[in-house]
Amino acid sequence: MTAYDIQSGDKVHRGDPVVVDRYPPATRINHWINAVCLILLAVSGLALFHPSLFFLSALFGGGETTREIHPWLGVVVFFAYYGLFFRFWRSCLFVRDDLAWMLGIGSVMSGREDKVPEVGRYNPGQKMFFWAMSIIVVVLLFSGVIIWDQYFYGYTTIEQKRLAVLIHSMCAVLAICAVIVHVYMVIWERGTLRAMTRGWVTGGWAWKHHRKWLRELVRGGN
């Protein structure tokens, strides 16, 4: 049990059901700016990635504006994601029990979390998502700048740009895949979305999914 799991704003309210504050308003606003821009970024990027998806560029006013807007959205996502990074990174450090949890991923995905070690504020799956995105976002930013011809054309060779555009598309696919898993887990585990909309979860949700975090909060006397 380590105190890193508790973030300022986490608070248990007794009652029936027990209500646990999980995300304060600033975190939620940060998260949703990131989410909305990331979706727009993915849609505009996909329009340029595969011909069958070029029609998506109409959402941004055509191919030219899609090309123009996409990198700026990327810059917003970079800062928004790193806003979240500094809020969450401590809670996302791996601990010894995480290995057993990961080995028991089959039980988790069949709804038997009681068969794996109790987890703190974030489970190892969430931690992997967090660290993967932390790296991918930086790689996307750098590879994106290399192919942002409007401002940075002269700084790299064509061969470097070819490599950058390939890495950029691969990392983008990885990021979109990661986000699909992230969104799916929220849909699958009912009661999770409320943490990011209203800012709180029920005590039962915390007991089921993040028991170590709940115990720690309760012990903390909140």
Binding site: G63, D149, Y153, E159, K161, L166, V173, W188, G204
Partner: protein, 318 residues
């Protein structure tokens, strides 16, 4: 050995109907085209480097026909002016001074650079905007500026470093040599070929141009250029702008003309397998999520879980 048999015809004076158009497309960027009903005879421009005198009439004719202007040049220590292709200057005479180690002769190699009109065009492969780059069955690769989104992917796709993005207008667009597709469509040849005073640039069907090149190569070989040859690189399935080179074994001597040009493997992966793999990965993952939801059902918090939480919080308060 005058080669005036390829003298271009006089311009038409009556109303003329273009001899090719939309219906002759064999490839269209980021989209598909129905197989054309007819196959046009392939055309080609042949540039005989050995006959070029470096007068730049081709550059002037190109600017003139395409109604482009470039700033007055500055001397950078070379006759190559401007220093590089630009969005306005679609063709450029590149001057190289080379001492032939075998003869100790200084050779002044002049190569007219510009779009090669590849049979396998990398620009078209890389382009994400439907119809912005098209290829006709006569071999001409052309840009449609109405559809171009100015992303610069064609620059990454091209193995010859030809397209240039214009930022002069509000909307960036890619530009390159059109092989004077508008002139060719009415029975004329490219403006550069028309202007060339030594007939170093000739235009005709690809077959004719290869035959003509054979004659030129024989002539060059008879005059001591043992490695004279035709540049029609197979790595891009041949080109519709070809060179006769006196040193065909070393094309890179001519201001870096690539020896074995082909579309970069990075571009091939990006616009080939990965395009499909990426979509499949994203679609597959979404499908797995859907199936998982159907099979396992929602992961709900039970009444029991809530009771556990309540007991935990209450036990703590006592």
């Amino acid at each position: 050995m005058a080669n005036f048999e390829y003298e271009l015809p006089a311009p038409p004076t009556n109303n003329v109907v273009p001899s090719f158009g939309e219906q002759d497309l064999v490839a269209r960027s980021a989209s598909s085209v129905p197989a054309p009903a007819r196959k046009l005879t392939e055309v080609a421009k042949l540039i005989d480097v050995s006959k070029c005198i470096g007068c730049k009439a081709c550059q002037v004719a190109c600017l003139e026909w395409n109604d482009k202007r470039i700033p007055v040049g500055e001397n950078h220590g070379s006759y190559t002016i401007p220093e590089d292709l630009t969005p306005e200057m679609f063709t450029l005479m590149r001057f190289t001074e080379w001492v032939n180690p075998e003869t100790q002769n200084l050779e002044w190699l002049i190569r007219k650079d510009g779009c090669m009109h590849c049979a396998d065009p990398g620009c078209l492969k890389a382009c994400p905007a439907p119809g912005a780059i098209v290829q006709y069955s006569n071999g001409i690769v052309d840009f449609d500026h109405e559809k171009c989104i100015g992303c610069g992917y064609c620059v990454k796709g091209c193995p010859f470093n030809i397209p240039r993005i214009s930022r002069a207008d509000a909307k960036p667009k890619a530009y390159k040599c059109t092989l004077c597709s508008d002139r060719v469509a009415v029975g004329q040849g490219p403006a550069c070929a028309k202007a060339c005073p030594t007939h170093a640039i000739v235009f005709g069907t690809k077959e004719e141009m290869k035959e003509h090149a054979d004659g030129r190569i024989k002539d060059l070989k008879s005059r001591g250029f043992a490695n004279a040859g035709l540049y029609d690189p197979p790595g891009v399935n041949g080109t519709h702008v070809m060179y006769v080179l006196h040193h065909a074994d070393q094309p890179q001597l001519y201001a870096g003309l690539p020896k074995d040009p082909r579309i970069s493997p990075l571009v091939e992966i990006w616009k080939g397998v990965f395009k499909y793999f990426g979509l499949a990965a994203m679609g597959g993952l979404a499908a797995i999520g859907f199936l998982h939801q159907v099979v396992t059902g929602a992961n709900r918090v039970s009444r029991e879980d809530e009771d556990h939480a309540r007991r935990l919080t209450e036990s703590d308060s006592t």
